[in-house]
């Protein structure tokens, strides 16, 4: 007969995760609400500065979204119409690189091309045009397009590639001209994704922190996220910070509801793209080639320039400096700790959600449990940080706790990605065999070790890689809680950009980039094992 081993209750892993999330997000939120009780919402909304910050946040997000989406459409169509050219897969893969490349690193590259002394400006001047400034609204838009246009193009391309071959063949047989193909076949495919991707990009740009911090340049171009940071760190103005945090909370909740009702995910970039060789279409090669070349140049030159310029007179000084090395080791600690905590919370939530779905037939409760992990989408990092500040300040030196808090915030930031990666595999590891597992009475550690781990080690390795890389490149949490005592590479990089030390910034950026790549590949390999042949 089967021996009885300890059977942990099904809610334990998820319960622990919920408890951790409640402590990390719920307590700061309560602190925030408590602090806000002496504010009147009307005053907050009527304050001219607050209003200006809110409207700028919305304005830049709308413009960024429109530009990204509109520019992505011709690119996606051109890529879909040119199914075969050297480097096509590489280019498409590059579109999702923003997951691995920290925002602040890409900004250094963008500045080195589009900045005052960058290649783009020099070209403009050679042709007799005025140079443009990368700082301010135009810089924010440029960087947002750099990150989000490829994301949109990827989604549109996937939608185009999903069009059944039969439709193309039919179009060819009927001899439809290019304009009709666009109107009848391509546009409907793109339109079906339009609302979803727009709201997603809008959400990303609306809460964008690093780009606005580095390229915003002063009070004229400040979003709510950055204004909260400034109120806290520049001015110790807790009232303004809390007021703006509250506004941000409300707006993010609205965006989250909109996102959900459209069925999109912030983690969209994670899904792998399935390419379908559409061989029948071949027209307008030159035009397609032009579009693709411009897009490729736009995306690749900043990265290439970054790497080329990283080797400069300051390189040795930067990489041997104690500050750099201490920041690098802090970055590594933050990345691994935040990654591990995010994965642990994610696995916990998914295991209990699986039980709710498969054993108790409570699909909506399972869904709700998973949603708990997306709390950071409603409470953005800076808002969460403000809450933690208010919560912890009376009891401890928040700057001494800096790294611990940064790890906590980053683990919550990575959690939605972890959940998204693990959801399918955790369910699949049980779905076919769940009745058998139940009848054999396999549970607890043996179940994890024998049945779940072999299926999950690859996705867990991947989610650990993604979440560690995200944490390694994050600026928002460390900007609030970092100090001269505790810095990470992104903070050091921000300081070096902020004091216009370009050479040092370039080297630091590449160092951070290498660290992220190393984390991304090594973690996948170490945890997930060899890639499948």
């Amino acid at each position: 007969m089967s021996q009885t081993s300890y059977k942990p209750p099904w809610w334990l892993p998820g319960g622990l995760s919920v408890l951790a999330i409640a402590a990390l997000a719920g307590l700061p939120l309560l602190a925030l609400m408590n602090e806000a009780s002496n504010l009147t919402l009307l005053d907050v909304v009527n304050d001219p500065y607050n209003r200006r910050v809110i409207s700028f946040s919305l304005y830049q997000a709308i413009l960024s979204t429109a530009l990204s989406v509109v520019l992505a459409i011709p690119l996606a169509v051109a890529l879909s119409r040119e199914p075969r050219f050297f480097g096509r897969t590489l280019l498409i893969n590059l579109f999702s690189l923003s997951l691995v490349i920290p925002t602040i690193v890409a900004i250094v590259g963008i500045v080195s091309i589009f900045g005052q002394s960058g290649l783009a400006n020099q070209l403009l001047q050679n042709f007799g045009f005025n140079s443009f400034s990368i700082y301010g609204l135009q810089g924010i838009l440029l960087a947002h397009v750099f990150f989000n246009m490829p994301l949109a193009a990827r989604v549109f391309l996937q939608s185009l590639e999903n069009i059944p071959q039969e439709q193309w063949r039919l179009a060819a047989q009927l001899g439809l001209p290019s304009s009709s193909r666009w109107r009848l076949i391509e546009w409907p495919a793109i339109r079906s994704q339009l609302a979803g991707i727009s709201i997603l990009i809008f959400a990303l740009c609306f809460t964008s922190f690093t780009i606005v911090m580095t390229l915003g340049g002063g009070p004229r171009a400040t979003t709510i996220e950055v204004a909260i940071y400034q109120a806290l760190r520049f001015d110790f103005d807790i009232n303004t910070a809390v007021a703006l945090a509250l506004i941000q909370l409300v707006l993010c909740t609205l965006i989250m509801i909109a996102t959900h009702s459209l069925g999109t995910h912030t983690t969209q970039g994670l899904s792998s793209i399935k390419l379908n060789q559409n061989t029948l279409y071949a027209s307008g090669h030159y035009f397609n080639g032009l579009i693709i070349s411009i897009a490729a140049l736009f995306l690749i030159t900043p990265l290439v320039s970054l790497i080329v310029k990283a080797f400069n007179p300051a390189t040795i000084g930067v990489i041997t400096h104690a500050k750099t090395l201490s920041a690098a080791s802090n970055t590594l600690v933050v990345a691994l700790a935040a990654g591990a905590i995010a994965v642990a919370m994610g696995v916990g939530l998914q295991l209990s959600a699986r039980h709710l779905r498969l054993r108790l037939y409570k699909h909506s409760s399972g869904r709700a449990l998973q949603l708990v992990g997306n709390v950071i989408l409603v409470i953005p990092p800076v808002v969460l940080g403000t809450g933690l500040f208010i919560l912890l300040r009376p009891h401890a030196d928040v700057f001494a706790l800096g790294l611990v808090i940064v790890v906590a915030i980053n683990s919550l930031m990575a959690l939605p990605f972890v959940l998204r990666i693990l959801e399918g595999p955790v369910l699949q590891a049980a779905q076919q065999h769940d009745r058998l597992i139940q009848s054999l009475g396999i549970h607890g550690m043996p179940r994890w070790r024998l049945l779940d781990w072999p299926h999950l080690k690859k996705p867990i390795g991947y989610s650990m890689a993604v979440s560690s890389t995200l944490a390694a490149g994050d600026l928002s949490a460390i900007a609030l809680f970092g100090s001269e005592r505790i810095a990470t590479l992104p903070l050091l990089l921000y300081q070096r950009i902020g004091s216009y030390r370009h050479h040092e910034a370039l080297t630091t950026a590449v160092l951070l980039l290498l660290l992220c790549f190393a984390l991304f590949f090594i973690l996948q390999r170490v945890i997930g094992g060899k890639p499948d042949a």
Binding site: Q3, S5, L436, S439, G441, M445, L450, L451
Partner: protein, 212 residues
């Protein structure tokens, strides 16, 4: 004796009520179209579903409150009976102890059971290398190892090709005979019921009726 007494289950518009008596050493075949609730019946007996009323008794005692793994029941599913990434040894050992720790004696029993289904010497093969018929044999071996008096079978032969099905039917019938099991098979095929020499019941409109 396995007794189902007014065992009820409602889900949406579906409503079932089962009454059944099966001898301690007997074979019963439940026949019905797909969607008639055959699987629901097995899931209720096995403990995968919670009934909304009624009782299940084995040897005069209710087993309703027992969790699936504690019931005197072992189940042979239509497919996915084995974990494909584990060896046959591991798959069988899971039937004895979920943490895979076996005594010498249990190890011997394991080998014997494999021998009994004609798969001797293959214990260290990975399950995914086996054919569908071989997988069902190993699954049957594990049912034996579990030493449970009741054997539930959910369309155990329907995923097999004709030749394999026949030999599997014979093996199953002999196994029930030799181990004196209370067997219940859910199937849509008359042929299965005849091959296992089972008393047949049909499931229509959520109720069981006996064919004599």
């Amino acid at each position: 004796m396995l007794k189902l007494r007014a065992l009820r289950f409602s889900y949406g518009e579906e409503d079932y009520q089962f009454d059944l008596s099966a001898g301690s050493h007997s074979t019963s075949a439940i026949m019905g179209k797909s969607g008639s609730g055959k699987s629901t019946l097995l899931n209720l007996i096995a403990g995968f579903l919670k009934p909304s009323g009624g009782d299940i008794q084995w040897l005069g005692e209710s087993i309703l409150s027992l969790p699936a793994e504690k019931r005197p029941i072992t189940t042979l599913f239509q497919q996915h009976n084995l974990f494909p990434h584990l060896t046959l040894h591991q798959n069988l050992a899971l039937g004895i102890n979920p943490s895979l720790k076996l005594s010498k004696e249990q190890h011997q029993q394991l080998l014997q059971s494999l021998d009994a289904v004609g798969m001797a010497g293959m214990e260290y093969q990975s399950a995914h290398t086996l054919s569908g018929g071989e997988q069902q044999r190993v699954a049957l071996a594990r049912c034996l190892l579990r030493k449970k008096p009741i054997l539930l079978m959910d369309e155990p032969f329907s995923a097999l090709d004709e030749a394999t099905r026949e030999s599997m039917q014979v093996l199953t019938r002999d196994t029930i005979e030799n181990n004196k099991l209370c067997a219940i098979i859910v199937t849509h095929s008359q042929n299965d019921a005849i091959a296992l020499e089972a008393s047949t019941y049909s499931l229509v409109n959520g109720r069981l009726s006996s064919h004599t």
